[in-house]
């Protein structure tokens, strides 16, 4: 998507906010007491004992950015990692992600790509502050100074001084030195990048000492939960709280526009109070929503070619090329709603006074929360402070404001700090699911068997129209997260990709690898089908279509070697392959799969993935992210499915929304190929190839194409009967 995103685009519905923003390495600093720590810039503080404190701008939710981001700074600062202390970024626009127009938001695999250059420059600038100070003190030209880890060296006079000692005389100049890309290390000079340093926050986590959001506590805090209606968007009509107020420990019952809050002394008390509420509801716009019916509707829209969508991408003339093609293929795909299932339930602590609000919350989006809270309380955003906490799983769920506003409105109502904790069931039933999406693909081959035409139609509800209306408008309705992954690395001359927005009343939201979770399923299943249709090895077919793209070809070739693509598997097992190119990282995955034909249960035995993320900053963390996303992807591909009937979500907890367990998890093999390209995203990269690799293997086993997600046993059995 070429559209350039500005900060303004992310400030949906927040008129009057006028912060211009770039990553500014020259923000003013307060003067320093002589002998105290040296604040070289907003990212780096150096203490006289040599301890270097580096700010980690992205929130830590398991993706490792609390380590991976500071490593980038430390590399250019030439710091000794053993002397580095990491602190999470407070709420401050200086730490916004340029990839989100300068907002403090963590998600969409944008931390590494967005912060890569700014953090390198920040580290180089801090180093330069030290060099300038030493040059002045020793009266030598700065060009004669170099650094070794944590030491400034003047080779001509054989003098050395540790970073801590430099702070004893260094002054931070009024105007911080200007550094450019020319001042940065070459990749062969990296000492930390590429080395897999242990993650900084893990010791606290294994000790049970790390404080997640749900562990936050402020003085005089009370506990609360919120009852929501049977369907999304229902509003309380009549509330009978007589019995609820009798429950020991329940202090107050507070009607909110979106539910009824119960406030009390502890989680169990407020849950009991909630169960004792009698509420009638005014139906919201999701009343009557039926996910099975919507599947059918959307599939119909996808296949009705007379109905045109928003053009996401067009080159050549795909319809005409299809008309003249020697051979054509077509296929339709549908994917159900899925749920995030973060292990830490939704929670937030809010302390609201007459004109301020403070919120301690495990959030991916402090900046979005700040604006939402300000809007809800009708106070200026500067009066709202968000304290981001450690996150027990994000996956896009924690980009929403619902749990934050629960805490804020209840704190305002009872005049005390309030911690809201959602029960698991409340999150299963009231989150914003990944959209249900239908896709229709058709393609044409010319007389030489080359892919000459490609037409991809994606039908589903919009995320941005609700979540970020201004951005939705700026994108002219091409809803990035919904359609992401549609872009083709494959060489096809004539292409048309369209998005057809269809709303049926249910609000939908972000998820781990939102769009590519299903667009790559469709694309990679379809490419496989076209290859097999011509009796060409699907791996070779992909290589042919990627001849112009060496990075893509390399990951495919390597994974084929590693998994021994050509080796025959034991009876009943087969391999499938898929490729993905989202978030500027390349990955190819092969799955070894079997199927119980009596029950329709698919088993994924082993997955091999080779990933080229550009410069691999923390290789083992990349391995871990791909392992995690692969497991997440297998779980989603085989069984995850939210069913909604008459507006009511049928699932309620892990027994009827079962996640993949250890006994079902495949062996996962990941290889990271570090290349000298700007680093791409990584948190979501492992997921898109999983489902199509599985489906493609099932075709080898059965001759049947599975075109619905999840590939649940009932659907597998139905396909086997066709």
């Amino acid at each position: 998507m070429a559209t350039k995103l500005s900060r303004r685009h992310f400030l949906a519905g927040t008129a009057g906010l006028t912060l211009g923003f770039t990553v500014d390495l020259r923000l003013p600093r307060s003067a320093r007491a002589q002998g105290g720590p040296l604040k070289a810039n907003v990212w780096v503080t150096i203490a006289p004992d040599g301890t270097v404190t580096i700010v980690a701008p992205s929130v830590e939710m398991g993706q490792g950015s609390m380590t991976g981001m500071p490593v980038i700074v430390a590399e250019e600062l030439d710091a000794d990692w053993a002397k580095v202390k990491v602190v999470p970024a407070p709420m401050n626009r200086a730490y916004g992600n340029p990839g989100f127009g300068g907002l403090q938001v963590t998600g969409a695999s944008r931390s590494t790509p967005g912060f890569w250059m700014p953090l390198r420059l920040a580290g180089a600038q801090a180093r330069r502050v030290l060099l300038d100070a030493v040059a002045a003190e020793w009266k030598v030209p700065v060009a004669e100074l170099t650094t070794e880890p944590h030491v400034v060296v003047h080779a001509p006079s054989a003098r050395r001084i540790g970073y801590g000692d430099v702070t004893k005389f260094a002054k931070v100049p009024a105007q911080l030195p200007n550094v450019t890309a020319a001042d940065l290390k070459k990749s062969d000079q990296f000492r930390l990048i590429g080395k897999s340093l242990p993650r900084v926050e893990l010791p606290d986590k294994v000790m049970g000492r790390a404080k997640f959001g749900i562990d936050a506590e402020v003085p005089d805090m009370v506990i609360a939960t919120v009852l929501r209606g049977p369907s999304q968007g229902d509003a309380p009509d009549r509330v009978d709280d007589g019995a609820a107020k009798q429950v020991p420990g329940v202090g107050a019952v507070v009607p909110l526009p979106w539910g009824v809050g119960v406030v009390g002394s502890g989680y169990e008390a407020v849950q009991k109070g909630k169960a004792a509420l009698k509420v009638t509801w005014k139906k919201g716009k999701a009343a009557g929503y039926d996910s099975e019916r919507v599947r059918g509707d959307y599939a119909g829209v996808a296949a009705s070619l007379s109905k045109k969508g928003v053009v996401a991408h067009e080159q050549g003339n795909a319809p005409r090329a299809l008309g003249t093609a020697a051979r054509t293929f077509e296929a339709a795909y549908v994917s159900d709603h899925v749920y995030h299932a973060t292990m830490e339930p939704m929670n937030a602590v809010a302390r609201v006074t007459a004109d301020t609000a403070e919120v301690w919350v495990p959030t991916q989006a402090p900046s979005i929360n700040q604006l939402a809270v300000a809007g809800a309380l009708k106070i200026p955003p500067e009066k709202v402070t968000i304290h981001p906490q450690l996150i027990g799983g994000g996956f896009g769920r924690r980009l929403e404001n619902d749990f934050v506003l629960d805490a804020v409105m209840l704190s305002k109502a009872v005049g005390k700090p309030v911690k809201v904790i959602w029960a698991r069931e409340e999150d299963v039933k009231h989150t914003k699911y990944r959209p249900l999406v239908a896709q229709y693909l058709r393609a044409g081959l010319d007389e030489n068997g080359n892919l000459s035409a490609w037409h991809h139609r994606i039908v589903g509800a919009s995320i941005y129209a609700r979540f970020n209306p201004r951005l939705f408008e700026a994108l002219k309705g091409a809803d990035t997260p919904v359609i992401e992954g549609y872009e083709l690395s494959y060489a096809v001359g004539n292409q048309l990709q369209e998005y057809l927005r269809e709303e049926r009343g249910l609000d939908v939201g972000l998820w781990r690898s939102v769009g590519p979770g299903y667009t790559k399923f469709a694309i990679e299943s379809f490419v496989d089908e076209i290859a097999r249709g011509q009796r060409i090895d699907p791996l070779q077919f992909r290589l042919r279509l990627l001849a112009h793209n060496p990075r893509a070809g390399a990951v495919i070739r390597r994974v084929a070697d590693w998994a021994e693509w050509d080796r025959k598997r034991p009876a009943g097992r087969a391999l499938g392959i898929a490729f993905s190119d989202t978030w500027r990282s390349y990955i190819a995955s092969i799955a070894e799969v079997s199927l119980d034909k009596k029950t329709g249960v698919i088993r994924v035995h082993e997955v091999w993935s080779v990933v080229d993320p550009g410069v691999a900053i923390q290789p083992d963390n990349i391995v871990a992210q791909i392992e995690g996303a692969t497991t997440f992807g297998v779980s989603a591909a085989l069984r995850e499915r939210v069913v909604i009937e008459d507006g009511v979500v049928k699932n309620s907890d892990f027994h009827d929304y079962p996640l993949l367990r250890m006994s079902e998890a495949p062996e996962i093999n990941v290889r990271v190929v570090s290349t000298n390209n700007a680093p791409g995203g990584i948190g979501e990269v492992g997921l898109p190839p999983v489902a199509p690799a599985i489906g493609n293997a099932i075709f080898v086993l059965t001759g049947k194409r599975l075109r619905s997600l999840p590939m649940s046993p009932d659907r597998v059995m139905a396909a086997l009967r066709t």
Binding site: P203, F212, E344, N621, Q625, A629, F654
Partner: protein, 180 residues
């Protein structure tokens, strides 16, 4: 109500039908034990009661009166259990939210079966969910803690491209918090 928590006798004001999980978290301020589902579905709340793994979200206070409860904060007095070290060495954790429960569940296994097979590990750990998908590393860490790893740091076949962690990674060693 009197019971032993992490080796200390505590007397906590709690009703017999209150749940151990919430008494630990809210009254004893031992927040290392996590709430994930409240329905015995996830294992995030796993603690030991008289040495056996139990789901704290399913245990009423009446059932633990006079018993010995151990939480992640009290797994070893110095907080340096072989499993905790192995968890760091294998860099198991992602978000880490499920991991107190995973470690407590694994510790109960190793107490009964010091050298478990992979199948025994999987069977014993299967009730503990991890949404971040750390299953493979959990198995490896348990094997490592049980002394089952060769010098390569891998259990054959070892296909990972990344070398194992130095034994002296920055494991923290200060004492765990204790209830008063």
């Amino acid at each position: 109500m009197k019971l032993s928590v992490n080796g200390s006798q505590v007397d906590v004001a709690a009703a017999p039908d209150e749940t151990l999980l919430w008494v630990l978290r809210e009254k004893l301020k031992l927040t290392g034990t996590k709430f994930g589902c409240g329905m015995a579905q996830c294992g995030a709340c796993t603690v030991h009661i008289d040495g056996k793994a139990a789901r704290a979200c399913q245990v009423r206070m009446a059932a633990v009166e006079g018993k010995k409860v151990t939480t992640i904060e009290g797994l070893l007095p110095d907080g340096n259990h072989p499993l905790q070290r192995a968890w760091i060495e294998e860099q198991v954790l992602q978000c880490g939210y499920c991991q107190s429960g995973q470690i407590m569940q694994a510790a109960a296994l190793l107490r009964e079966t010091p050298r478990p097979t992979k199948a025994q590990i999987v069977q014993h750990m299967n009730g503990n969910l991890c949404r971040c998908g750390t299953h493979g590393r959990i198995v490896r860490a348990i094997q490592r803690a049980a002394g089952g790893l060769g010098s390569s740091g891998c259990v054959a076949p070892c296909s990972k491209a990344v070398s194992p962690w130095p034994r002296n990674s920055r494991a923290a060693t200060s004492s765990p918090a204790r209830p008063a």
